[in-house]
Amino acid sequence: MNRFDQSIAQPAGNTLAVNKVIRNTYMLLSATLVFSAVMATVSIATAMPPMTYLVSLIVSMLLGMFVLPRTANSASGIGVIFLITGLMGFGLGAVLSLYLQLPHGPQTIATALGGTGVIFLGLSGYALTSRRDFSFMGGFIFSGMMVMMVAIIANLFLQMPALQLAIAGGVMLLMSGYILFQTSQMMNGGETNYINATYGLYIAIFNIFISLLQLLGIFGDD
């Protein structure tokens, strides 16, 4: 079953179940982020080449498309999500190694990391406290993702800095919207699987971090 195939959000019938999904999602998300950071550190320490990023991304996307949907309802789904996030962290390490060589690289990385944390916590907090249903944004977000995907494929070959900038900005906004959408889905009973919810939020955080890193790198003159 496709992991995005969620029902339209309905008022939660069982508050306890909803709270359990939210609690499990944030616990698993924290664990995967820590694991990802450890793998990124390993990647930096072993000085992995830049191509590691693309290879890790390809493998993790394939796992996310074909393996995770088949295992998300079982305990093995937890192993798969750690495999995916570990791989993505390992790939990220290769990019961070490049940034660390820049004059203001460490500062850029720290700012992007802090900024990503503030954006995620702010948006999640807003969605949780406002208790609004953001499922009306579903069509806009998924069609926006498709447009971004086409732009990313084009820029793999065109390598245009201006298009890269536009993609980074677009992805940042779309993923911010996705955090609102996914959090409200969890709250309103539209998403009942915490592994799928964790995967969605992890991807959003990862993309926001990468986009922010690019934007700060470009505008910070690095």
């Binding site: 496709n2 995005f4 195939d5 339209i8 959000a9 191509m51 693309l54 290879v55 991304l57 390809i58 996307m61 394939l62 498309m65 203001h104 500062q107 850029t108 700012t111 992007a112 900024g115 503030v118 954006i119 702010g122 948006l123 807003y126 406002s130 609004r132 249903d133 953001f134 499922s135 009306f136 944004m137 579903g138 069509g139 977000i141 998924f142 069609s143 993702m145 498709m146 995907m149 086409v150 990313i152 494929i153 793999l156 070959f157 940042m172 906004l173 911010s176 919207g177 609102l180 922010l212 934007l215 700060l216 505008f219 910070g220 003159d221």
Partner: protein, 62 residues
């Protein structure tokens, strides 16, 4: 040359992702509940805050 094959591989996987997302995009465009009055404003406000925050971060690293 290796890099070109890697780019082609990435393009293929991103293309597959397009097919993966398409049914969901179609589903949500058809079945998503209509936004009530104030819904878009409630969504655009935090997104505008994100834009402002990113601009602030850019000024901080310059």
């Amino acid at each position: 040359m290796d890099n070109l094959w890697l780019q082609i591989g990435a393009a293929v996987v991103f293309g597959m992702m397009l097919f993966f997302i398409y049914p969901n995009a179609k589903h949500w465009m058809k079945n998503a509940p209509k936004a009530q009055q104030g819904d878009w404003m409630a969504a655009l406000l935090p997104l505008a805050a994100v834009v402002g925050f990113v601009i602030l971060l850019i000024f901080l690293v310059r």
